[in-house]
Amino acid sequence: MTIQHIVLLKAHEHVSDAEMDALMAKVKQLESIPAVLEITATKNINDRDHGYSYGAVMKFADASSLQCYLEHPEHQTMSAEVKRVCADILTVDFEH
């Protein structure tokens, strides 16, 4: 049973779309971490997003792989960068 790790991002008001697009491209590069099966990171197209206008969907083989990803140094660096430009972050995990 795979795990879908979903992250929704609400950017600070002063952060431009261009900066967020660049950030999404960097998030996509985390796919090179062995534990990650697949990443989609892009801008939201739904108008009921409550300000969470960017997000990422990540696929993992199991909970152990997700944990490995969370502990990975490249994720830690990226996490710090995301926290710097975002006012709020929502995270949910679904088994699929």
């Binding site: 049973m1 795979t2 062995p34 534990a35 099966l37 697949e38 083989a61 199991d62 152990s64 792989s65 490995c68 502990e71 990975h72 140094p73």
Partner: protein
């Protein structure tokens, strides 16, 4: 004497009539989504999926006319599908014959003529050459299986039903696999491994090494060898655990995947290469709970360096294709440095006098290592003479290794009485290489020895007396041997000499040559690849 007592006996009683594929079936039924294999190109194979594919493979094997007891030979790259082919053979009763992808055409012809498989599965790129060999030796069918799960075998098998075959219901003592080991007389011998031996070994190791369903093994070993196929693969199945499959040992890939692994099994060469990598650290090994080394002796320097860099102690174990695993150090850190451990449950070990064969009961006395075990092979394929030669009348097998047992029952290896060379984890018998060299033009006589090599452990090294001095050179000899021997058997260096040191009986004194050239690979900057 220390010994792993209880678990093995229970395992033998519990599963004596079954085979490792029964573990696949039971997990697939209870928890089909549980992950068994994950590849580095991010393909997932759950227990349920592997059970389904292996059922289709088994059905197709039956449709190809393969019956219980027939040999199915596979010279394929490592892939989940290649491993599933082995499981399919277990389920329907065929004898699986894995062959090293490095074997030359001449070597393949020998194995196929000797084993007489019903079906031969090869790499797609080798199909024409393999078909020619198959036709020569009346193999019923030749199909291909690629590293990416493609090929004619897969194309045909996946359209079959998963339950269209008859599950093997024969005796647990029947052979499940045929593994060729290098031969002292110039020819490899096929060791017949029983279903019971596979079950017993994996069950005992799973308990001894405290495997659980939460374990993730980083599987970097080849699958044509008992180490990767049985010791690693079957033990994971016995525990219902998971494997991350790499196609081969690539040190950068291992560094990338180790943070996810709880168990790593390797040969000494792999550990020395990991230690040379600048990124190898405690952080990379943060989830590792068990690191196993086998197939060749590991130096105390490597053990100590690994412990310091990774925070983990390497657990050494000892075994042969014919015996599977015989001893292991405990994985609780209570092992003895320099030892390969104590006997596993229900395995009897003794040291016998080199000349007389009489058991030596005094601790720390060097002699031949002999083993009696539920994991012992059934004998050499169609070679009763060689089987009788290596088996004692009381059921002990003479391993050909020399060792001592201390007061606490720990086994120490001190050498081999058959001159076998272990290079990068592979066994090479000098006689086989010498026979090929002696057949070359202008060679008067050759001798082959193993010399210490910082990367390979030992390096195959040939010393040659030329019939006409100056007529032979190293490059031409090595290029002539490439077609006759697998790459790992080819000498790393060829040295030309005028004579060999001999004893009073005229026998070449290899020990003196080993002493004379001991530092060859240090002096020449580790030449050889």
């Amino acid at each position: 004497m220390c010994r792993y007592f209880d678990s093995g006996l229970r395992a033998l009683n519990k599963l004596s009539a079954d085979d490792p594929a029964i573990w696949l079936d039971s997990v697939a039924e209870a928890d089909p989504e549980r992950l068994l294999i994950r590849t580095t190109d991010k393909r997932l194979y759950s227990y349920g999926k592997v059970a389904d594919i292996s059922g289709r493979f088994a059905t197709y094997l039956s449709q190809c006319g393969v019956c219980a007891g027939d040999r199915v030979a596979a010279q394929v790259d490592k892939s989940p599908e290649g491993y599933i082919l082995y499981l399919a053979c277990l389920r329907m009763g065929a004898i699986f014959l894995p062959l090293n992808t490095a074997y030359s055409k001449a070597e393949m012809e020998y194995f196929i003529s000797d084993a007489q498989p019903r079906l031969l599965v090869c790499r797609p790129e080798s199909i024409e050459q393999t078909k020619a060999i198959a036709e020569k030796f009346n193999v019923h069918k030749t199909l291909s299986l690629g590293i990416d799960g493609t090929g004619t075998f897969i194309e045909n098998a996946l359209s079959c039903q998963a339950d269209g075959f008859t599950r093997f219901s024969g005796d647990a003592s029947d052979a499940a696999a045929l593994l060729y080991t290098s031969g002292t007389t110039g020819r490899s011998k096929g060791a017949m491994i029983s279903r019971r031996a596979l079950v017993y070994c994996a069950n005992t190791l799973a308990e001894c090494w405290q495997f659980t369903a939460d374990d993730i093994l980083l599987h970097v070993l080849p699958m044509f060898h008992g180490h990767g196929l049985f010791i690693a693969g079957n033990t994971v199945l016995a525990a219902g655990a998971q494997m991350i499959f790499t196609n081969r040992f690539d040190v950068n890939e291992v560094i990338r995947y180790l943070p996810e692994a709880t168990v790593f099994m390797g040969v000494p060469t792999m550990y020395t290469r990991l230690l040379k990598h600048p990124d190898f650290s405690k952080n990379v090994c943060r989830k590792l709970r068990l690191t196993i080394s086998g197939s060749a002796p590991i130096t105390s320097e490597t053990l100590e360096a690994f412990r310091k860099r990774s925070g983990n102690s390497i657990v050494e174990r000892y075994g042969l294709t014919e015996t599977l695993i015989v001893t292991s150090n405990p994985c609780n850190g209570m092992g003895e440095p320099g030892s390969v451990g104590i006997p596993l449950a229900n395995i009897d070990l003794r040291i016998a006098d080199i000349e007389t064969g009489v058991e030596l009961t005094e601790p720390n006395t060097v002699g031949k290592i002999e083993v009696r075990s539920p994991c012992l092979f059934n004998g050499y394929w169609r070679n009763a003479e060689k089987t009788a030669q290596d088996m004692c009348s009381d059921g002990y097998f003479s391993t050909g290794d020399l060792g001592t047992i201390d007061e606490k029952g720990f086994l120490y290896l001190v050498g081999r009485d058959k001159d076998m060379i272990i290079t990068g984890g592979y066994n090479v018998y000098p006689k086989e290489v010498e026979t090929e060299i002696d057949a070359l033009k202008n060679v008067q006589e050759s001798t082959v020895i193993g010399l210490p090599h910082p990367d390979f452990g030992e390096a195959v090294t040939a010393l040659v007396i030329s019939e006409t001095p100056g007529e032979l050179n190293e490059a031409s000899m090595l290029s002539a041997l490439v077609d006759r021997l697998a790459k790992y058997k080819c000498p790393k260096k060829v040295l030309f000499v005028d004579e060999f040191p001999r004893n009073a009986m005229g026998k070449i004194q290899k020990n003196l040559l080993k002493q004379q050239y001991e530092k060859l690979y240090q002096e020449i900057g580790q030449t050889g690849n």
